[in-house]
Each structure stands twice: as structure tokens, then as C-alpha cells.
């Protein structure tokens, strides 16, 4: 719980928020203000019941996003309203829980209803299917805010929206859209996406999972690995090799032969459930086949959507680390002066602020291109590659600046740093995106 010490600290150095209330004229003025603190403490964070001492969930010391290039001017009123709504929700509802869940290796499933109510499941899906019909920039801002909180939270939402709702919307039949999209948007059903296999990650075309026709049905067999939300899903999008090539199926997870054992002992993305999917003679009707997804283009199209969200999300994680390190460096006294007063610290901060600002610009430009219908998968590769790599580097530098505190979960930076090892690997590793860009630039594929 937030102690009166943290309130007092906030009251003092945020005391200049109101020039009309000069409470601090004498040593006792501070005490008088303290008695008024019920008013302010409540007012700062009206819905926050679980306060912690760490900076980003301390109500008197809230998260401040870096906006060095005044990019807020580039967003519409509506885009900013959505961003701010998601930011508030994360600060007040998710942040107080994240440390315990990260330690326990669990996702706060009790918040799924609130996430649905907030509207972050498939927000770009048209309203007729239960979405909010938002543009891609707004979706990017949502991912940025969710990942500012934790990559596990952003992953939960990315999978539901980009990897489950998107393929149903893009490749599904009318019946499939009507059956699944409203349920997924409302959080009544949680979905997962099964593409990666134990031996096929960067090379999904080699997959061993099979789909064989049996009368009007299909029989699915195989194993999928590293599947976010597998254990808690009601439906899985499963990609399998059929006679005619790779096909995608909408598979309810309660079917006979389907199981999703959880993958334990991760040291990254711990506030997120990761599972295997085991398919043993799972029989699905032909109605489970997504008619418009033929070949590897189907799953890769989904990944392009998800990578777009990651390009924004990674910026949020970096911003969270930077905010924490900047605050810390100003408060932490070493050799009788703040850490921030040392040139080595200032160099790190200047480099990180520049890197983050460049990544923000790249994400924004990509989003505007996407909304104009002009973006390419290679542009997404560039943004995912650059922004996640930047976030990983930034989180490591911030961890270093936090000294010993950097390895404590009481601070957020270490958690983000660990998460970034997953984010730099999934949805196309850094190296695979490097080769994709190399291929695009030279016309020469160098994957193998």
C-alpha cells in the first residue's frame, strides 16, 4: 500500500502544481497541507485501491511518456482520447497486479472482462461484428499503452485481435464471422493462434501438422509450440498442411483429441500464458476451414498485422523504462549529487531519448501508411526489427542505470528487459526481419 511517506514526498515536490495554493511558506505549512492530503491523494487517483511504492503505480508520481518531438500534435483528438483511456486503465487496474502475476507466471484473467468492456479486443474490426471500427494508428497507440504496462498484456490483446479476429475477418466465411467475432470482441471467447511448431519457427512452411479430409470432415494431427493463451482459449486458429497446401481452421478447444499443456519455467513474458497445442485426430467439420486462406500467405498476413502492433508496443516498453530511469537518476544520490548530474548518465539518457523519438516517428508513419492502405510487409519488418531492438537495448541501459534496484521486480525495467527477449524473437526474429529487408533491398533471398 502507498505509505504516507510517498504521499508526503509527492505533495512536496509536486507542490508547485497549483500556484494559487502556496501552502509551503513555513515548515508547518507542510503539515497543514498534509492534513489536506486526503483530498489530493484521492483526487490524483480516484479509482486506485492498491498502491505500490514503485514509480509507475505510485499515484503521486504517475507515468510520464516521453514526447520530445511534440508528436501529440500529430494525433487526432479521438486518437488521444483512446490512448489516454487505455493508459488510465493500465495504470489503475493492471499495474497494481503485474508484479505478483509476473512472479507467479500467471495472467490476471479477472481483468479480461474489463479489457473487453474497454474495447481493446479487435478494435479495428467493424462495429457490425462487435469491434469499434478504429483506425490503425489508434490501434497502434493501444498497443503502445498496453506494452508500457507489460508485454504479456499487449500479447494477450495482440493475439486476440491480430491473430484470431483478423484471420476470421479476412479469410473466414460470413457464418464464421458472425459466430466468432462478436464473442471474441466481448471476451466471451478467448482465442489463440497455432502456427509455430517445435522444429519450425522461422520456417513455418516446413510444418508437420496435417489436415486430412475424411468425408465432409477434416482430421487434424500435430503439435504446436509457444502458443500465447493456448491453455485459456476457447478457440484456436490452427494452421495445418493439407493436400492442396497450408490451410487454416477455426478449432474449438473442447474437441476430443485437443489439449493445450502449459509451457512452464519461462523467464520472459511471465505475465502471459504460453502453451503447446496437441492435436490427436481432432475431427472438425468443413465449416471450420477458413475458405479464403490458401497457402502460407494466410498466416503470414496475420503476422503482418501482429508485427504492426509490436512495432508500437515496443515503443511503449522503452518509454516505460526510460521514464523510470530518468526519474530514478534524478532522485538517486551518489557521491553527494543526483545520478543524473553525471555525464555518463546524461549520455545514456540523451541516446535513449533520441532512439525512442525515432522509433515513435517510425511507428506513426507506418500507422498512417497502413490507414492509407499503402503499407508493405517489408515496412512492417523494418519497424518491428528496429523498434524492438531499440526497446531491448533501452531496457538494458535503463536496467544498468537503476543499479541493484534494476534487478528487483519492485521496479518495472527489469521485467520489460526480460520480456523484450521474447518480443525480439517472436513474430519473426530480429535476424529473419534483417534477411527480409535484405531480400527486399537487393532482390536476393539469403534465408538459406
Amino acid at each position: 500500500m502507498g505509505s504516507s511517506i510517498s504521499w508526503a514526498r509527492g505533495l512536496f515536490w509536486k507542490g508547485n502544481r497549483s500556484p494559487l495554493s502556496p501552502f509551503f511558506g513555513s515548515p508547518w505549512g507542510f503539515l497543514r497541507v498534509f492534513w489536506k492530503s486526503c483530498h489530493w491523494a484521492w483526487a490524483i487517483q480516484p479509482r486506485h485501491h492498491l498502491l505500490r511504492l514503485n514509480p509507475q503505480s505510485d499515484p503521486m508520481d504517475p507515468y510520464q511518456q516521453l514526447d520530445f518531438l511534440a508528436l501529440d500534435d500529430q494525433f487526432s483528438e479521438e486518437e488521444l482520447m483512446v490512448r489516454d483511456a487505455v493508459r488510465s486503465w493500465c495504470s489503475e487496474r493492471f499495474m497494481p497486479l503485474v508484479m505478483e502475476h509476473f512472479e507467479a507466471g500467471t495472467f490476471p484473467m479477472e481483468l479480461v472482462g474489463e479489457l473487453a468492456e474497454l474495447g481493446v479486443f479487435g478494435p479495428t474490426v467493424p462495429e457490425e461484428y462487435g469491434g469499434a471500427g478504429l483506425n490503425s494508428v489508434t490501434y497502434g497507440l493501444i498497443c503502445q499503452e498496453l506494452e508500457r504496462a507489460d508485454s504479456g498484456l499487449r500479447s494477450f490483446v495482440s493475439v486476440q485481435g491480430s491473430l484470431v479476429m483478423y484471420p476470421i475477418l479476412a479469410y473466414g466465411s460470413q457464418e464464421q464471422k458472425q459466430e466468432w467475432l462478436p464473442r471474441l470482441a466481448s471476451g466471451e471467447a478467448i482465442g489463440c493462434f497455432g502456427l509455430t511448431e517445435p522444429d519450425f519457427g522461422s520456417n513455418p512452411g516446413g510444418m508437420l501438422t496435417t489436415a486430412k479430409r475424411d468425408g465432409d470432415d477434416w482430421i487434424l494431427n500435430g503439435r504446436k509450440m509457444w502458443i500465447t493463451n493456448g491453455t485459456c482459449s476457447q478457440v484456436a486458429i490452427v494452421w495445418a498442411r493439407a493436400e492442396e497446401g497450408i490451410r487454416g481452421f477455426i478449432v474449438p478447444t473442447n474437441l476430443k483429441g485437443f489439449s493445450a499443456p502449459e509451457q512452464k519455467h519461462k523467464w520472459s513474458l511471465r505475465a502471459s500464458i504460453t502453451s503447446e497445442l496437441v492435436l490427436e485426430d481432432v475431427r472438425v467439420p468443413n465449416g471450420a476451414l477458413m475458405p479464403e486462406a490458401k497457402g502460407l500467405k494466410g498466416p503470414l498476413g496475420c503476422l503482418t498485422q501482429a508485427r504492426y502492433g509490436i512495432a508500437w508496443g515496443a515503443v511503449g516498453a522503452a518509454e516505460a523504462c526510460f521514464d523510470e530511469a530518468l526519474r530514478y537518476s534524478k532522485q538517486r544520490i551518489v557521491f553527494d549529487k543526483p545520478l543524473a548530474a553525471f555525464q555518463l548518465a546524461q549520455k545514456k539518457l540523451a541516446d535513449m531519448a533520441t532512439d525512442i523519438s525515432l522509433a515513435q516517428l517510425m511507428a506513426l508513419r507506418l500507422g498512417r501508411l497502413k490507414d492509407e492502405g499503402k503499407f508493405t510487409p517489408h515496412q512492417v519488418s523494418m519497424a518491428k526489427r528496429n523498434n524492438v531492438s531499440m526497446a531491448l537495448k533501452t531496457s538494458r541501459t535503463c536496467r544498468d542505470m537503476l543499479g541493484a534496484n534494476g534487478i528487483s521486480l519492485e521496479y518495472h525495467t527489469g521485467r520489460h528487459m526480460l520480456n523484450m527477449e521474447s518480443v525480439v524473437t517472436y513474430e519473426g526474429t530480429h535476424d529473419i526481419h534483417t534477411l527480409a529487408l535484405g531480400h527486399e533491398l537487393t532482390g536476393i533471398p539469403a534465408y538459406r
Binding site: G15, P27, D84, A132
Partner: protein, 250 residues
């Protein structure tokens, strides 16, 4: 029921404010804004009243034309329409001028009930609500922590320093909302999208001359150095004496 929620856009309490050159206004460059905390309760109570009794919620504000984002957020939370009385000079306007302008608009709107925050977090006057009610000749209940409305009257509990009062009042009325009345909801994405399409009218505020004006803004003095009164148990009586007789807080 014709319900109005009066809200004020105020500087974000997380922002570091600076006094502008001239010393009577704030430097607004880079300043971010929000709806005053207690006004969030007013919006929530207005929407809950609509949900219980039907009708329409008008979000009424007196402030600069640039304040549309904050007002749209009120629409996203369930307001049906917004009225912005444009006045760029929000810091130097006195309570009487604000109250007269709001009272005139509430009268035009034919409101049955107007919800306001108990105090705005920028100037801390807690005066406009009761003044509006006085100008209109309406009932006024301040610092309300629970409320029931039935047809043309209501019952409210208000918290005072000496205890809790239960008050019955007739409509129309001005209710000022205090902490504990409700838990404001979050705006959601669909609400934000819907807010874009809701009616939003702007008209110039009809302001009377100020009778009170700000002549100087001074940032808080830096915190004075602490004083060590002693150590161990011997310091306790000295501390108590200081708290009682110097600080006068116990």
C-alpha cells in the same frame, strides 16, 4: 429528466505549472488539461440518474474553445450532448461571472437537476455551485456522498466536518458531488467513437464584469529547512508542544 452535468477543464494536476510573464496568468505552453476530479463524479452521477430515470444528459462547460477533447471524454462516458460556453479568459474570471453565465444557460436548457463537483481542483473556491442555485432560486445540496431522486424531489446525504446530514430537497436543484458518491466509469473505445457523433454546441459565454480579479500569481515558496527538535523519547513532548502551539494541527 433533463439532467445537466457542469464540468470544468482544469490544468492536469500532474503537470508542472509555471506563471507566465506578467505574473497574473499561467504559462499554457505544453500544459495538459483534464476534467476536474469532482466533476468526474458529477458526470457519473448524471449518467446514473439518466440510466435510472430516463432523459438526457447535457454536459455544460464554461471555458476555452480548445477544451473540446476533455468535453468529448464526458460524452464518451455517457453524456448525450455538450454545450461549451466559450471564454478564453478562464483564470481571471470570478465565481460570480461564471455562476451567472451557467445559471442563464441552465435556465435556457430547462434543467431539472444540475450536477457539479464540490470544488474545482484549479482554484479551489467551491463557490460556483451554490451561487448558481441562488441565482436560479433552486435548491442546493453541497458535498453530497449519496443521493436518491424520485420524481420531483430527492434525498441526499452530505458529509460535513461535524457529521453527516440527510437532506430532502425539491427539484430543480444543484447538487455538488463529493468523494464517495460514486466510482466514475472508464470511457471505452466504443463510447469514444460514439462521442464523435454527439451534438456539440459552442456559443460565446455571456459574462458580466468581474468583481474580483487575480492580481498576482506566486509559485509556492521552496520548502523551508526542517528543524530537529531532539532525539529519542525526550523529543516527544517537544514535538507535541510544537504541533499543538506552533503548527496548531493537533
Amino acid at each position: 429528466m433533463n439532467i445537466v452535468a457542469c464540468v470544468k477543464r482544469v490544468p492536469n494536476t500532474e503537470a508542472v505549472v509555471k506563471v507566465a510573464d506578467g505574473g497574473t496568468s499561467l504559462d499554457e505552453s505544453g500544459l495538459s488539461y483534464m476534467i476536474s476530479f469532482y466533476d468526474e463524479l458529477a458526470i457519473e452521477e448524471a449518467v446514473r440518474t439518466k440510466e435510472a430515470h430516463g432523459g438526457e444528459v447535457t454536459v455544460l462547460t464554461l471555458g476555452p474553445s480548445e477544451g473540446t477533447k476533455e468535453i468529448r471524454e464526458c460524452l464518451a462516458k455517457g453524456g448525450d450532448r455538450a454545450e461549451l460556453l466559450a471564454d478564453s479568459n478562464w483564470l481571471s474570471r470570478d465565481c460570480r461571472a461564471s455562476a451567472k453565465a451557467l445559471a442563464a444557460k441552465l435556465s435556457d436548457l430547462g434543467a431539472d437537476v444540475a450536477f457539479m463537483g464540490r470544488v474545482a481542483t484549479d482554484r479551489d473556491n467551491a463557490a460556483v455551485g451554490p451561487m448558481v442555485a441562488t441565482y436560479l432560486g433552486w435548491a442546493c445540496v453541497t458535498d453530497v456522498v449519496s443521493l436518491e431522486i424520485a420524481e420531483d424531489k430527492g434525498t441526499a446525504r452530505r458529509e460535513t466536518e461535524t457529521g453527516i446530514e440527510t437532506i430532502e430537497f425539491s427539484l430543480p436543484a444543484v447538487i455538488t458531488c463529493n468523494k464517495g458518491l460514486n466510482e466514475p466509469r472508464y470511457s471505452n473505445l466504443k463510447g469514444i467513437m460514439a462521442a464523435k457523433k454527439k451534438p456539440f454546441e459552442e456559443s460565446p459565454a455571456e459574462l458580466v464584469d468581474n468583481q474580483a480579479s487575480v492580481i498576482a500569481l506566486t509559485p509556492p515558496s521552496p520548502r523551508a529547512e526542517g528543524r530537529i527538535l531532539g532525539t529519542g523519547p525526550d523529543a516527544v513532548p517537544v514535538l507535541i508542544d510544537a504541533l499543538r502551539n506552533e503548527a496548531k494541527v493537533i
